[in-house]
Amino acid sequence: MDFWLDVTVVALMVSTSWIIAIRYISSGIKWLSFQSLMLSLLTGVLAVETGRTDLFVIAVLTLLVKAIAIPYILYRTLRAVGVDRQAEKTFGRDRLIIAVLAMWAIGYYVTPDFGLGYGHNVYLSVAIGMLLSGVLIMITHKKALMQGIGLIVIENSLFLAALSTSFGMPFLVDIGIFLDVLVIVVLISALSFRMDELLSSMSIEKLRRLKG
């Protein structure tokens, strides 16, 4: 079973790294969907391993909400404003890839070795690396939708961190987080659409004028 855990974690890392470097927003959404799918797989594997039913439920919820509903909402918004939108980035691909590698390194470096004989908690390292990469996505991308995607990546990373340290959060908390994320994505979609209508652009750099 550990084999499947490793495979899904590697898939998470690859998808996260790739989201930063994508050229079109639509491919970003596809990779986000893939990432969430892998997360739900990972939860499922853990559920089988530990035999806990609540993890099953959460795996199914992750699949439904994060891998299907959220990408669908984002994709609809994107279609409304034009599918072939490019993701504007502040830096080039190569530099971003290097930055993401640095994030993984930092994630590994800062994760504590609890000294319990299990060695390093690699899943936590990946979670922290994903968290930092998610923030990096929000920093380097200019489009509002990509901010939403970055936020979901951060959410996924926190989910992974909870899984890796204590087999997930309490059930009710997880349900609440799912609802929150769903609402946030709906809001981001609606506001991005509105921004595109008003400013004919989704670039959040146009929001500078809102400064007091």
Binding site: I106, V110, L132, V135, M138, I139, I204, K211
Partner: protein, 619 residues
């Protein structure tokens, strides 16, 4: 009702001040512990909280001065405070003055650090409240804030100094400080000296820590200004003398520092006094000048003491105290006079005054005496103390010609000369522009003389400088009691003539010479030139109508000095260090504002960096 309360409270202040004079008189001859009582001891056993009141000869001198000024100001306040009676809380001004006098007495009576700091803080706070009493006038509130901020800054340093002394002597009593502090390590003594110097300089308004003074003094009601300038500034001198002559071991460099600080403050303060227009602001700058002279005198005495010239040190100490008393006498008189001018004309600027000599004869007389005293014209008191300071400085220079440090008093001499010249100009300017000529505003044209109690206070106040100037030998004899134990002199040594009797007739002699000399000159002119022929005709004004503003103005009067000294780039109305400091603060803030650029992504970036740094740090 409020009128009766107003008079009663002021009379209470008079009684209380008389009591202070008696207390000071007792203290001058019999130093004694008056009162000692721990407070809050039942609930919190804190050894620090002990009220201890003592009188010593040196505090006795200051207490007598405080008492005399308190009587004069309270008498003056009876007449002056009437205009405030109609205000809401009119009586609070009188209560405030009473409390102010009481808190200052607490400072002089303090026998330990707690009592001293308690008195110091309540004194600062009471004076702040009195400064902002007329807060509806523009600029008063700001003056109060600056004053409060500066004085609190000074208190911080004083608390630190007392704390250090306590740490190493194990007591808060001044008597223990006097016994043990001189044996502390030199580094510690230096730290205590620097801290107390900063704290007391802030209170004394030494340049460049003076910025609160020219704002706060004009803002307060005039009799409060008189108290603040006359005696509150002297609390700083009292503290300085206490620390440097009674507690710490004398060091030459400290005296040199005090000389340089005081001398530069005296010259610059006097220079500014010639440039300002507001009468009370001029007097405030003159106070800075006089506090500079006092600090300089203390420095000269300390230098001589460090060089083991005990007699000269004692004489310089005596001259400093004498000058302090004199300054209190004539500066309170001048502030009372200025208050009377404001009361009668509702004008403050010299350029809007004029012609008061005819409309306010009593005020004019009092102001004339005060101005003659401040510019050190014999036989008034300013001459005696400044001359004493001058002669002792010359003797110290003479005794230390082989020593580089001993030459520092030369600097003091230059400062005395320059500040004397500036102050003479200032006095001429106030009297010439403010009192002579023609009224330059409707207020000055319709000026009315002050009410009777104010006139009494003015005339009594005018008597004090004269008495202080006519009997210098008696004063120096009394001041000998207040010398620190390490210094001593015989009264006959104090004067250059080495003869006390010839000294006591000197003021009268000078008076006779001045009066008689004037008469001789008049007689000679009369004989040689004959009787004056006078033709009275209207002033020729190029055919236009004559206006009061055509006459010489105060701004024009000070123009030559301003021109001459513009070479030295003395900032006339700005700070030396406050403006640059403020600019640095503003520029830094502007630079930091670039962080706040409105881009969501920048904010995320700050968060991101913070998180990474924190993660790495706490790992």
């Amino acid at each position: 009702m409020s009128r009766i309360a107003h008079v009663v409270i002021n009379l209470m202040t008079v009684v209380f001040s008389s009591f202070l004079i008696c207390l000071g008189w007792i203290g001058l001859y019999h130093p004694s512990l008056l009162f000692e009582h721990p407070i809050f001891n039942m609930f919190i056993p804190v050894p620090f909280l002990v009220i201890q009141l003592t009188v010593a000869p040196i505090s006795g001198v200051f207490l007598i001065v405080l008492g005399i000024l308190g009587i004069l100001s309270a008498l003056y306040g009876i007449g002056y405070g009437v205009i405030y009676c109609s205000r809401q809380y009119g009586v609070w001004l009188d209560l405030g003055v009473l409390a102010f006098v009481a808190t200052m007495a607490l400072v002089f009576l303090a026998g330990n650090a707690f009592t001293f700091l308690l008195g110091w803080e309540t004194m600062s706070f009471m004076s702040y409240l009195l400064v902002v009493y007329e807060s509806e006038r523009p600029g008063v509130a700001m003056a109060g804030v600056i004053y409060l901020a500066m004085t609190q800054l000074g208190t911080v340093f004083l608390v630190l100094a007392f704390y250090l002394l306590h740490q190493y002597t194990g007591s808060y009593d001044f008597a223990v400080f006097a016994h043990d502090a001189a044996a502390l390590s030199p580094v510690l003594q230096t730290v205590v000296f620097v801290f107390t110097l900063i704290g007391f300089s802030l209170k004394a308004g030494m340049m460049p820590l003076h910025i609160w003074l020219p704002r706060a003094h004009p803002a307060a009601p005039s009799h409060v200004s008189a108290l603040m300038s006359g005696i509150m500034l002297k609390t700083a001198l009292y503290g300085l003398l206490l620390v440097n002559f009674y507690w710490l071991h004398p060091e030459a460099w400290r005296g040199a520092l005090l000389i340089v600080l005081g001398a530069s403050s005296a010259v610059l303060g006097a220079f500014h006094a010639t440039q300002e227009l507001d009468v009370k602001r001029i007097l405030a700058y003159s106070s800075i000048e006089n506090m500079g002279l006092l600090f300089m005198g203390a420095g000269i005495s300390l230098l001589a003491l460090a060089l083991h010239q005990v007699t000269l040190a004692g004489i310089a100490f005596c001259a400093t105290l004498y000058q302090a008393i004199n300054h209190a006498a004539f500066k309170s008189l001048l502030f009372h006079g200025a208050g009377s001018i404001i009361h009668g004309t509702h004008e403050r600027s010299l350029n809007r005054l004029g012609g008061l000599v005819r409309r306010m004869p009593y005020t004019t007389f009092a102001m004339a005496i005060g101005l003659l005293s401040v510019s050190a014209i014999p036989p008034f008191n300013g001459f005696m103390s400044e001359w004493l300071l001058f002669s002792v400085t010359a003797r110290i220079i003479h005794a230390n010609l082989h020593n580089m440090l001993g030459l520092l008093p030369v600097f003091a001499m230059f400062s005395l000369l320059f500040s004397g010249a500036f102050v003479a100009l200032m006095s001429a300017r106030i009297f010439g522009i403010g009192f002579q000529g023609e009224g330059r505003s409707s207020g000055a044209k319709q000026a009315h003389e002050a009410p009777i109690t104010m006139r009494i206070a003015l005339l009594l106040g005018a008597l004090v400088p004269l008495l202080l100037g006519l009997f210098p030998v008696l004063i120096t004899q009394a001041l000998r009691l207040a010398l620190p134990p390490t210094e001593s002199y015989a009264v006959r040594q104090i004067w250059y003539s080495q003869n006390a009797i010839s000294m006591s007739i000197l003021p009268f002699l000078l008076l006779a010479i001045l009066g008689g000399g004037g008469f001789v000159v008049w007689l000679a002119v009369r004989i040689w030139a004959g009787k004056e022929r006078r033709q009275i005709a209207p002033t020729w004004t190029c055919g236009g109508s004559r206006l009061a503003n055509m006459s010489y103005s105060a701004t024009g009067f000070s123009q030559p000095v301003r021109r001459t000294f513009s070479v030295f780039k003395i900032p006339v109305a700005g700070g030396y260090m406050y403006h640059p400091t403020w600019d640095v603060v503003l520029n830094t803030a502007r630079r930091f504002r670039r962080i706040q650029n409105g881009s969501v992504r920048s904010y995320l970036l700050y968060l991101f960096i913070t998180v990474i740094v924190l993660l790495i740090v706490v790992r």
